[in-house]
């Protein structure tokens, strides 16, 4: 094991501290990560594009400023590199949403979160793989091939943000950004033994996030521990006039809450166990790790109460009306006119705009995206809008009411993140309903706009990671960071270190 390999195993906070102490430069961190990326990618395929030149240039620019003492006042993570889900636009760096319809597209502007990362001096390592337009739970729907789970490369890393989760799990990056519409940050976190956070809807600007389902989408952090996610969310969060759903408020005190949590004192905290999220369909190994973690929360002084959220049983059905409806509307913009793919009709077919759009979409969209567009158009059929989309919107109200009642009894809610550990490639591809069940425990938070996060709860009896989910009230993300940090600290004490100690990393041995 080389020194550079030890470097990439540090947490982002530790990397930042070494930068501040001038023990390591941003450039050294970037080079170390790029070496791991070179070595890991043949097996993992977490990245669609590695922006090595840009990352080195950003790191050098930061190091030059740091040498002159001009980095005062920058966020704590200044100089630490990060990977970006290819659902977020980056000026001058190809952005595809893992779709052939956007292959080769170079965005002319940066998403707000990218502007903030650049201002913080955080180099962008590259763009990570996903299910096409973030539609899927395994990354198998990427037009450019799936990402592999570092814990077992014959298995999926979850999705849609499998690339970001695998990159962080495999030490190709200390941090990443994801987007979460129904669980696309948290479920991959669960399946790869990493931390994934979906902030409050509107807590992080979505300007420059490629739209999937606009009433659900949220950008959030991916990391290997709770504090790193908190630090990253403080960098990217906050009000943005370019996003009309952005909440005009400051980021809640999440870093403070995480640091408080590491003291492992949860006396006075009430934790609500959601009755509806468990039991049938949840693997015994997932439930076992979950239940042990609940006991640990109790041992730190938390009071655990069962909460009843009867309308969570309707969340998946409502999601599968709301989501495709909004997808069908959002993806209408890919019309071959202003950017992206254009396929003209073959000879003999009238060369009209309408025919061009049809041929472009036929060639440019994959099966799952087409499936959801068709379902969405059906759900929005003229004359049925109120009865169908409208009914699903009413279920959202009922789910929000369930959350409100639950938060009268508890400060934070808990559930397994996903009912299963990582599954094999192809296992669920022919059965969309089983695939959708992967998100049954993450969807309620999207429907209600509440913040939620997944942290590793250990390994199931199959040796694969299990995720533990916390859900907090809207605009109070700090209420989940505290118990999440406490649980992480308690679990790591039991394990004698982070969950990734059990991860075999042959690619690190071959890294330069």
């Amino acid at each position: 094991m080389t020194e550079a390999n030890e470097l990439v195993k540090l947490t982002a906070a530790q990397m930042a501290e070494k930068i501040r102490n001038k023990e390591v430069s941003s450039r050294e961190l970037v080079d170390a990560e790029l070496n791991v990326i070179d070595a890991a990618e043949p097996d993992i395929h977490a990245f669609l594009h590695v922006s090595a030149d840009e990352a080195r240039a950003q790191a050098d620019a930061f190091d030059a400023k740091n040498a002159k003492g001009e980095t005062e006042g920058l966020p704590e993570l200044a100089g630490v590199p990060i990977a970006i889900k290819d659902m977020i636009v980056t000026k001058g760096i190809e952005t595809t949403a893992a779709s052939k319809i956007l292959e080769g597209w170079i965005p002319p502007y940066d998403a707000t979160v990218i502007t903030k990362l650049k201002a913080a001096g955080m180099p962008l390592l590259g763009k990570t793989n996903l299910d096409e337009f973030a539609q899927g739970s395994s990354t198998e729907h990427s037009a450019f091939g799936p990402t592999h789970n570092p814990w077992d490369t014959s298995r999926v890393p979850g999705g849609s943000g499998g690339g970001s989760a695998s990159a962080v799990a495999a030490f190709e990056a200390p941090l990443a950004l994801g987007t979460d519409t129904g669980g696309s940050i948290r479920q991959p976190g669960s399946l790869t033994g990493t931390v994934g956070v979906k902030p409050t809807y509107g807590g992080v600007s979505r300007f420059g996030a490629i739209a999937m389902a606009s009433s659900l989408d949220q950008i959030g952090p991916v990391s290997r521990n709770v504090l790193d996610s908190a630090l990253l969310q403080e960098v990217i969060g906050g009000h943005d006039v370019r996003d009309s759903t952005s909440i005009p408020m400051d980021v809640p005190p999440i870093v403070k809450a995480a640091r408080e949590g590491y003291k492992r004192d949860l006396k006075g905290m009430k934790v609500g166990l959601v009755k509806q999220l468990g039991g049938d369909g949840y693997q015994p190994g997932v439930e076992a790790r979950f239940n042990e973690a609940v006991k640990l929360l109790q041992s730190m002084g938390a009071e655990v109460v069962e909460v009843d959220c009867p309308h969570f049983d309707y969340a998946l059905a409502a999601y599968y009306i709301v989501m495709p409806s909004e997808v069908s509307s959002n993806l209408a913009r890919y019309d071959g006119m202003r950017y992206g793919l254009r396929v003209m009709p073959p000879e003999g077919v009238p060369q009209t705009a309408a025919n061009m759009m049809a041929y472009t979409r036929e060639a440019g969209f994959g099966d799952e995206v087409k499936r959801r567009i068709i379902l969405g158009i059906y759900a929005l059929s003229a004359g049925y809008y109120d009865a169908w989309y409208g009914s699903a919107q009413k279920v959202r109200t009922l789910i929000i009411d369930d959350f409100k009642k639950a938060f009268e009894q508890a400060d934070v809610l808990i559930a397994p993140t996903s009912p299963t550990t990582a599954f094999k490639f192809g296992e669920k591809m022919n059965d969309p309903l089983t695939m959708y069940m992967s998100d049954v425990a993450t969807i309620p938070a999207n429907m209600a706009g509440t913040p939620a996060m997944s942290i590793p709860a250990g390994l199931s009896d199959d040796g694969l990671p299990v995720g533990f989910q916390f859900m907090a009230p809207q605009k109070h993300d700090e209420q989940m960071y505290k118990p999440a940090a406490a649980l992480e600290a308690a679990l790591e004490e039991q394990w004698g270190g982070p969950v990734w100690q059990s991860l075999k990393t042959p690619w690190l041995d071959s890294a330069k």
Binding site: W105, I106, P107, P108, Y109, T200, Y201, G202, S215, V241, S244, T245, I247, P248, H311, Y314, L316, A317, A318, Y320, I321, P324, G336, M337, R338, Y339, G340, L341, R342, M344, P350, Q351, T352, A353, A354, M356, R371, I374, L375, Y378, A379, A387, G390, S391, A392, Q393, K394, V395, R396, T397, L398, I400, P432, L433, M447, A448, G449, T450, Q474, K475
Partner: protein, 72 residues
């Protein structure tokens, strides 16, 4: 595809079990008052940047195939 349309039909039936007349629909889960951003001038995207990703351009404009059908 027919099977999948049945799935959405099942979803519709399921939500209609509880979506009664007295429940208000939710469009944005975090209700916000609409507001105007400060009226401060900004530099917009330059025309060449906006056109840079276009499949076809001419004289600073997007080129679209003809809109109407008829003789090719």
């Amino acid at each position: 595809m027919q099977g999948e349309l049945n799935v959405i039909a099942d979803s519709i039936n399921k939500v209609q079990e509880v979506a009664s007349d007295d429940v208000e629909p939710t469009a944005n889960p975090v209700p916000l008052e609409a507001y105007l951003r400060p009226d401060v001038p900004e530099t917009p995207l330059r025309r060449e940047d906006a056109l840079a990703g276009a499949p076809a351009t001419e004289s600073g404009m997007f080129v679209a195939p003809r809109i109407l059908g008829g003789e090719a």
